[in-house]
Point group: C2
Chain length 281, copies 2
């Protein structure tokens, strides 16, 4: 596995690979890798000849009171995991390399970034869209993979790729869960023993929503009320949002129809967790 | 000369050329070509194997009360001029092809777009940065050329290319003037006979500024006052701005030092014209 830390070096390597007719598959990450990230590496490897993973904790997607500083980092472990999983190139730039001063350009996807996570994290998706644009211009992939765990992020990236005519394919890999159902996340590391148990209410509430839908329930308000009750059953929880939305424009739905996204963000103690399911009604 | 009107077709053609190891040179325009545009075609042809010119009157860079509808268009003439000048591929997309609904993504360069033309045309440079990003992703050039007539645009594009790690080179071609000094512009077509004569005050004021600097003047206020007097000497004129600014961050200067941009925007009747000179003091 090659490790590249410099932007023009990664660009030269990518250009060279493209000229050789090789298909580049890309997994952008913030590191502290778990099985969710590694499953995306498997996914792009099935669609490409050369796999590139980036590890970059992107400062522009964190709000001023968020966890940028304490976000977990362990490059040695990440390097080993990526190598063992068959990653060909690891791109690991510094913040100074990615945002040389004076930095002034941002990519903004309107409307669909103002709801759900975007409503509670203003500027978050602007930072995501900007860094992903930069990474695409650096790594020059034919195909890139994102996780369904960040459902809104995947939808925002797809809209951006379409709008800005980025000539690549976006794949979305399924959520990878712990044996007890908790969606894998680098932030799970923040949870205490009790919080780790309480965090199961996210997935339990999504399972309950699916049961209700299977039984014929189509009123979003009734489903959301039952989800809310499950989450409130643990004292460490605080709901950021529970929403049932259209999967393309992310607008909230009153009645379920077609493909819908059931998504939630919940604080467990001091840790904000997200989870979701897509359901075809 | 090939004419391509469809985005994925242009992308396929560009990818094919790149895979053949050919260097793509690109001149984005809004058409109604004049010698300024054609000189940029000469410029990119000296730096590439295949030249692509785009003709697209971009709606997102016009304000609601600006001249998008009446902007001059003459595709047959443009096609002939581009062909005669050695253009290899003319990319001529429709608005529906470039902005399919629902369109939501914009590229914004901050700070340097809020002064000079950006101050009087809010949203203009957001439209420019967005369409240029799209065109770069469609045409995939190794080198692209912009005119010095739109000095702020060239600076904004260079900042965007650097910030978003677009892997291409930006060339800036000199202003091409009519024999009497008026900078060439598609909008000169709007001028009546008298306005066409009055429009010479833009260049005359810039020449006067250069004389003053050559004579040792370093106070921006004194230079701008003389420029203003020249422009006010014709009754059809109305000054939008006269500014002397740093060539990198576009901040106004009180005292001239190093490389400076002397730029102005002036209404002559109902037509807004711009012109500038760069001076090393």
């Amino acid at each position: 596995m090659e490790i590249i830390r410099i932007v023009p070096e990664m660009q030269r390597r990518a250009e060279e690979l493209r000229l050789q007719g090789r298909r580049i598959g890309f997994v952008p990450t913030m590191g502290f890798l778990h099985e969710g990230h590694l499953s995306l590496l498997d996914l792009v490897r099935r669609h490409s000849d050369i796999s590139v993973m980036s590890i970059f904790v992107n400062p522009t997607q964190f709000g001023p009171n968020e966890d940028y500083e304490k976000y977990p980092r362990d490059f040695e472990r990440d390097e080993r995991l990526a190598r063992e999983r068959g990653c060909d190139i690891l791109f690991y730039p510094s913040v100074a390399e990615m945002y040389p001063e004076p930095y002034r350009t941002y990519v903004n996807v309107e409307e669909i970034t103002e709801v759900l996570c975007g409503a509670s994290r203003p500027g978050h998706f602007r930072g995501v869209a900007t860094v992903v644009t930069k990474l695409f211009n650096i790594v020059k992939p034919h195909v890139a993979a994102f996780g369904q765990k960040d459902a809104q992020q995947a939808i925002v990236i797809k809209q951006m790729v379409r709008d800005l005519n980025m000539d690549l394919e976006i794949l979305v890999g399924p959520i990878v869960r712990e044996p007890d159902g908790l969606a894998m996340s680098s932030r799970n590391k923040y949870l205490s023993g009790q919080e780790r148990k309480d965090a199961l209410v996210l997935y339990r509430s999504l399972q309950r929503a699916q049961e209700l839908i299977a039984a014929g329930e189509r009123h979003a308000a009734r489903i959301k009320a039952e989800m809310e009750a499950i989450i409130r059953s643990v004292s460490t929880s605080r709901i950021d949002y529970i929403e049932i939305a259209d999967t393309v424009n992310l607008r909230p739905l009153d009645r379920l129809k077609g493909e819908v996204l059931i998504a939630l963000a919940v604080w467990i103690g001091a840790t904000r967790l997200i989870d979701n399911v897509m359901v075809r009604v």
